[in-house]
Symmetry: C2
């Protein structure tokens, strides 16, 4: 009889919700997905999700009880267990998701937002194993972060800590969805870099890139415009990260999400700008710049399960 | 027989080192001080300090053992137990202070920097009692901070977290002692506000203020220049604090140190700028702006003792 622990990890996104059974070594079995956007209401969604989760529980060897269900979801709040008007979900309402799932399944359920789940996943199964102070920066459609300090996730008093995508990178800069101007994510998210790219390409009478992956592909071919786009983006990202570093002094800054696929094309200029901006006291023990180890491994399911462990 | 716990708190400054016996209710007895700057070397200083601390130990009722010695000192590092080239101490060397005091006294000794000690003091004895997420901002000659998240002090991997005085408030702004430009403390420390004051007063052909207390005194008399100086300072401070808030989302921002004596003259414009800059998700549960409760109560001795408790 094994002494492994098991949890169910749920990665809830706007289009798909993925889930699976995760053991404490990070192995996922019985991974499945349903379409989030094919349900008319959160209640219908939870009913369908619970049926699938129950089949995982029923199938699971009775000797190994499942410790809990962890859910990573947009705008999810660990403290309240709710999702509040998430822009990326089909229902723009207040959803008490944790309690809905817990009462349907009768299993302890915890939720948090995607970026915080990613940080926990990285600590349990990824490049942050053994680290006590690090930050995972998620570079996707927007920018989020999960900050671990002294081995614990920083939630803040309201569960909303770590919204580094909304630190003002340029006063009076690009308009942001949040209603302010110059937020980091208007420059350094997948959407932000595409915006920078279009400006540079149009100014040079060149055909715009289709998406951020196309900029990475062009950089790999040595395209000087693509390299310049990454340079400009890294400059903005590195400076803001130097300020974040000043607050929490992590030993590693770990990049996750679509734009992290650009690897050194983005990381080298980011680290350069970061170090130029860094206070001298941090220069002796500079943080490592790393790419997530879970990037292509159902990271969000692992991270959600890590919430339980 | 009482069940109180006791610790010795030591507040080491560049000119004076103050210390006393502190119980877990925050009562200080046998408070004394020696002049830090009258010793030729750290070794001489520790020898003298230890004699005084020993007399406190010897005098202390043998039924109540002393749990430890806590020291708050400039540039002190909790992890390494050392002070590294503190600009404000008479000896600009690397001082393994924790181990020096521990071996002289044979009592468990811990050290940290002044701002972090202040945060612990505030949590144990001051306005942050019962809070788990808050930041103490020390507005003195420089600006420091002690950040508590989930009930724990954030040290960072190197013990150097929380140097918020060196977040760049204005790119290419005033030169800072750290070698960079535009750091928050060049605007919002006691030195920074005096600099702002002199600029405003000279531009208006008025006699400069002598020190930051004089600006507060003038504001209390309704002096419009003094009020304008606080407005300008609060604008810079509030914006940077909004960025810090985005990282850690505390339930309170607590001000400590000389400039905190200006109270609402500084806090009202700071809070106004803070709220203007704040991301909407934080607006429902905005942090409280508070003045330290230990401001005039040997806070640093209490904070240093709180390190032990």
């Amino acid at each position: 009889m094994s002494h492994k622990k098991y949890a169910i990890g749920v990665d809830m996104g706007g289009t798909y919700t993925k889930f699976g059974l995760v053991d404490d070594q990070g192995t996922i079995t019985r991974a499945q997905q349903i379409r989030t956007d094919s349900y008319r209401s959160p209640e219908d969604f939870v009913a369908a999700l619970s049926l699938h989760l129950q089949s995982i529980v029923d199938y699971h060897d009775q000797d190994h009880t499942i410790t809990g269900i962890g859910i990573g979801a947009p705008n999810a709040n660990y403290h309240t267990g709710t999702i509040d008007r998430a822009a990326n979900l089909p229902w723009r309402t207040y959803i008490p998701l944790r309690d809905m799932v817990a009462s349907a399944m009768n299993i302890k359920t915890v939720i948090t937002n995607d970026a915080k789940a990613a940080a926990l996943g990285e600590m349990q199964f990824g490049v942050a194993k053994g680290m006590k102070d690090f930050i995972v920066v998620t570079l996707g459609t927007g920018i989020g972060s999960g900050i671990v300090s002294n081995g614990q996730l920083i939630y803040g008093h309201d569960g909303m800590a770590g919204e580094v995508g909304h630190i003002i990178a340029k006063p009076n800069g690009r308009p942001c969805g949040c209603g302010r101007k110059g937020c980091l994510e208007t420059y350094a998210s997948a959407t932000g870099i595409l915006n920078t790219a279009q400006k540079i390409m149009l100014a040079n009478n060149l055909v715009p890139f289709e998406n951020s992956q196309a900029i990475t592909d062009a950089a790999m071919m040595g395209n000087p415009m693509a390299l310049e786009i990454f340079n400009q983006t890294g400059k903005v990202l590195g400076k803001v990260l130097a300020h974040v570093h000043t607050v929490i002094s992590p030993e590693a800054i770990i990049f996750f999400g679509g734009l992290a696929n650009a690897r050194d094309y983005l990381l080298v200029p980011t680290q350069k700008a970061f170090e130029e901006e860094l206070l001298f006291v941090y220069k002796e023990r500079k943080p490592q710049f790393l790419i997530s180890a879970l990037q292509h491994r159902n990271a969000a399911i692992l991270g959600a399960a890590a919430l339980v462990f």
